[in-house]
Symmetry: C2
Subunit: 141 residues, 2 copies
DNA sequence: TTTAATATTACAATGATTACAAATATATAT
DNA sequence: ATATATATTTGTAATCATTGTAATATTAAA
């Protein structure tokens, strides 16, 4: 769970990605922050300790990580791409109140319609919108 | 299935939406074109017979329809909001090749994790990405 | 028909993302 | 170690979808 920079460099190399400093930092951020950050959130945090970082590099790096299946893109709302380094199957819940995106376990095998029989299925995504328990309690006051 | 303008006007009125000409045309388009159009696609087609239409009106109308549960927003890719007048539960498949979005049947009740027990669930979405059967055949040439 | 309320329009503003070319860094061969 | 080639990063500008706003038009009510 607590990957060192060396672990991350090895991880990238295994996917034939050159482990540059920026790429390691971006991947490290994504591994440590499981809150499905946007590109902008990643950039804002990382630029503090890596002042030369550009947002383009964040986007470039995420594209590379996604192509190599080291991360996934989650699209719940238009105009808000979020990233997730957890590649194990799971669903996403977005709270309409506090905007937080959380994970929940789900068996993706149940998503299997006969209508898709002749299709090549590459990715399955499940997302749920609503109000999280925290916000439910706060609303009642 | 083939709703007349009057049917649509009645439909809107039942949801307390004033059935203006633009709103009827937008709803009519969405009911007739089940291919999950973007706001831009709707605008481009409708402006031909309704030259004064503005894109803002399409967005405004869609916001109203969604709030009244007469349509839903589907978000598969970032930067591409699509709309669907089919409110019955179903999943969406997007072909990475031809970009077409199609429906497939799915029982949404299976999406029900204990982790969501204390949450207020308002919407459940399932989407799948891959290659459709048509494109699979074409690719083999 | 006049008035008031609501809807629509046109245009500007925003914000996320992408394109691109220059600059920098890294790796390879000599 | 130096020169060369290659890959990476950067900064800026361009693009594109969406939203905000104020003026105008339409509709509904009196």
């Amino acid at each position: 769970m607590n990957a060192t920079k060396d672990d991350i460099a090895r991880m990238l190399l295994e996917s034939n990605i050159k482990p540059s400093y920026s790429r390691i930092k971006v991947m490290e951020y994504l591994l440590k922050n499981r809150n499905h950050p946007t590109a902008d959130e990643m950039y804002s945090h990382l630029v503090k300790e890596l002042p030369t970082l550009s947002k383009t590099t964040v986007y470039n790096t995420m594209d590379i990580l996604i192509k190599s299946k080291l991360a996934q893109l989650i699209s719940i709302e238009d105009h808000e791409a979020r990233y997730d380094a957890d590649m194990a199957p799971h669903g996403h819940f977005k709270c309409e109140e506090c905007k937080m995106v959380s994970d929940f376990p789900i068996d993706m095998d149940i998503i299997n319609s006969e209508a898709l029989a002749d299709y090549l299925v590459k990715e399955k995504h499940v997302y749920v919108k609503g109000i999280c328990s925290n916000c439910m309690i706060n609303n009642k006051q």
